[in-house]
């Protein structure tokens, strides 16, 4: 069994031949061409060199065939013998600049390593989704973007600026670029819906109450909560709280909007409606939207760009249309929600 037969090596050939429009014109504008481990402008190559030294490389199927993965490979992943067997780190071009970039980020909590050499790019003016099984570090990613957590090593760049190296004042200023929708909305319990949405405007702008009222009413109207402005968070349903959180996240016209599992706790219809809302508002306002989820239906509905995260590293990332056709067995299993495949219950 040769090293070239390892599962992720099957992608080496298409990556080398995949040329982005910018490359064809001789420009290398964004980090999709950058080796995430810092080797400059080298073409994208699989980055999991640890695997190259593994003694028993399993036989991978032909990437163009629908052949099932041999059971020994699946078993090897499920038993945890090599948890990064499927992590090619492949980063397909997205044709945009990067709003947020993770460069070789490591983060541990006690003995639990959550991010384990994460390299991730979030394209500007697209809806990106970070998908992955529960407990793989998706929410930890969001907290790194806004400087609520700092990496143990590595760097997080927002519009090219290093978040871990910012002073407190710079950090608070940088955070104004972000709108964040937390899982349950994170509305302030002491304020009604209207005041919750108005709060960032009152804190960060010199607008008059009339101007604030116009903006707030507009945002609340967009999310369909015009009739509930005087209600307090504990009087709202889960879906209403999320929509209110969405309105609050948008009120300062942020360039980057983060959604932490917007579909959690919602029924399928309301999830679909929320996804539609995210898409509509993104079409109107633009900016980098990042949706953290493990709901595949949501990904199919709204994602322009998808990053699959598992065990603290990117398995693969690329435009949604390409990733849903990915030959990577892990990505394929996850994006189709099948039980059979490398991802088990562990």
């Amino acid at each position: 069994m040769t090293e070239s037969n390892r599962p992720h090596d099957q992608f080496a050939e298409p990556m080398e031949t995949h040329v982005a429009p910018e490359e064809q014109t001789g420009r290398l504008p964004s980090s999709e061409q950058r080796d995430p481990r810092g080797s400059g402008d080298a073409p994208v190559v699989p980055t999991h060199e640890d695997d190259l030294t593994a003694p028993e490389a399993p036989q991978a199927p032909d990437r163009d065939s629908n052949e099932e993965v041999p059971q020994n490979i699946v078993d090897q992943t499920r038993k945890g013998e090599d948890p990064y067997l499927w992590h090619t780190g492949l980063k397909r071009p997205h044709g945009s600049t990067e709003a947020v970039e993770f460069i070789d980020v490591y983060k541990s909590f006690g003995r639990n390593t959550i991010l384990n050499g994460l390299n991730l790019g979030i394209p500007d003016n697209q809806i990106s989704m970070i998908l992955g099984p529960s407990g793989t570090g998706k929410s930890v990613c969001i907290k790194h973007m806004v400087g609520l957590l700092y990496p143990d090593s590595g760097d997080v760049l927002v519009h090219g600026q290093s978040v871990p190296n910012m002073e407190d004042d710079q950090l608070f200023e940088m955070r104004k670029k972000f709108g964040v929708l937390f899982q349950d909305g994170a509305l302030f319990g002491s304020m009604n819906l209207w005041d919750n949405v108005a709060f960032p405007l009152r804190q960060h702008t010199d607008k008059s109450e009339e101007e604030i009222a116009a903006i707030v009413n507009s945002r609340i109207g967009e999310v369909g909560l015009a009739g509930a402005t005087d209600k307090f968070p504990n009087e709202l349903s889960g879906g209403m709280r999320k929509r209110a959180g969405f309105a609050r996240a948008l009120v300062l016209d942020p360039g980057i909007v983060l959604f932490d599992e917007p579909d959690s706790g919602l029924d399928p219809v309301r999830t679909a409606l929320l996804c539609e809302l995210i898409k509509e508002i993104h079409d109107e306002n633009g900016g980098a939207y990042v949706v953290i989820t493990h709901d595949i239906m949501s990904a199919r509905r709204v994602a322009d760009y998808i990053s699959v995260l598992w065990k603290g590293r990117i398995v693969e990332q690329g435009p949604a249309s390409e990733l849903f056709d990915s030959p990577n067995q892990f990505v394929r299993q996850f994006l189709s929600g099948e039980a059979a495949g490398p991802l088990g219950m562990e």
Binding site: L148, D184, G189
Partner: protein, 267 residues
């Protein structure tokens, strides 16, 4: 060695206490440097909550304990053949010990735990993170505003609570037992206390209040582990505050009245 050595437990206590002190200094700094005035409205709202939520309970407790002090003092002074001296017991009991301790207990139970629960709940429902990502210092908005409210409101509440205690003692000694006239009671009552005693009592009570609020803020702000974590933090704050109330009470009595009773008792 597999187990923990006996020294590790006290070491952890000291480390935790150091963390609380460091946190407290930071929050006090937010108030003293005036950053809290960026959220003056929130500070006033917290002051309103303290007044509406705690004042009646504190006054009620002070009144009941004042009655008790009056009664016990009246019967004790009768037992030694000096019923006219009942005011001594009322003066000392109310001003120096019982009202400050009652104040400390009530603040620990009502205000301290309330702060832990409120801020802890905000922490586990991501409200603290939501503030931070909006570019607003959660430390200032959640903690400094509450400390500011306590500094504004507590001295007045305490002074009024002392008034309730005094009035209750007067009712018990003069109106209920009735073995001393109103003038006789007040003659002795005021002879055994003076303005510095009043100031010392306020200092003692405010030291308790500051400790209780800082401990509550610390345990609330650092709460983790979901609702169970908030419950655990609330219980821990109550235990520590109870200990601190007694330590401060004992130290206050020793410092202010330990060397000099500040009363005409001779010797």
């Amino acid at each position: 060695m597999t187990g923990r050595t006996w020294l590790e437990v006290p070491k952890e206590w000291i480390a935790s206490f150091g963390e609380i002190v460091k946190f407290g200094v930071r929050v006090i700094g937010e108030v003293l440097t005036g950053r809290v005035f960026g959220f003056f409205g929130e500070g006033l709202r917290q002051a309103g909550i303290l007044i509406l939520g705690s004042a009646l309970v504190i006054f009620g407790l002070a009144f009941i304990l004042g009655l008790t002090c009056g009664l016990e003092g009246a019967y004790f002074s009768r037992s030694v053949g000096a019923p006219a001296q009942a005011g001594i017991f009322s003066a000392w009991c109310d001003l120096r010990e019982v009202i400050p301790y009652a104040w400390g207990y009530m603040l620990s139970a009502k205000v301290g735990t309330g702060i832990v629960a409120e801020i802890g709940a905000a922490r586990i429902t991501d409200e603290v993170d939501a503030l931070e990502v909006m570019g607003i210092s959660s430390m200032t908005f959640l903690c400094a505003t509450r400390l500011f409210a306590a500094i504004v409101v507590f001295p007045f509440l305490y002074i009024i609570a002392i008034g309730f205690g005094f009035f209750a003692s007067y009712l018990a000694v003069v109106e209920q037992i009735g073995e001393v006239s109103s003038g006789g009671f007040f003659l002795i009552f005021w002879m055994f206390q003076n303005p510095p005693d009043f100031l010392y009592s306020i200092i003692k009570a405010m030291a308790m209040a500051l400790a209780i609020v800082v401990v509550g803020l610390y345990y609330g702000y650092t709460a983790s582990g979901g609702p169970v974590g908030v419950g655990t933090a609330t219980a821990k704050s109550m235990v520590l505050n109870t200990v601190l109330v007694h330590l401060i009470g004992m130290l206050g009595t020793q410092i202010f009245w330990g060397q000099d009773p500040r009363a005409p008792v001779g010797g």
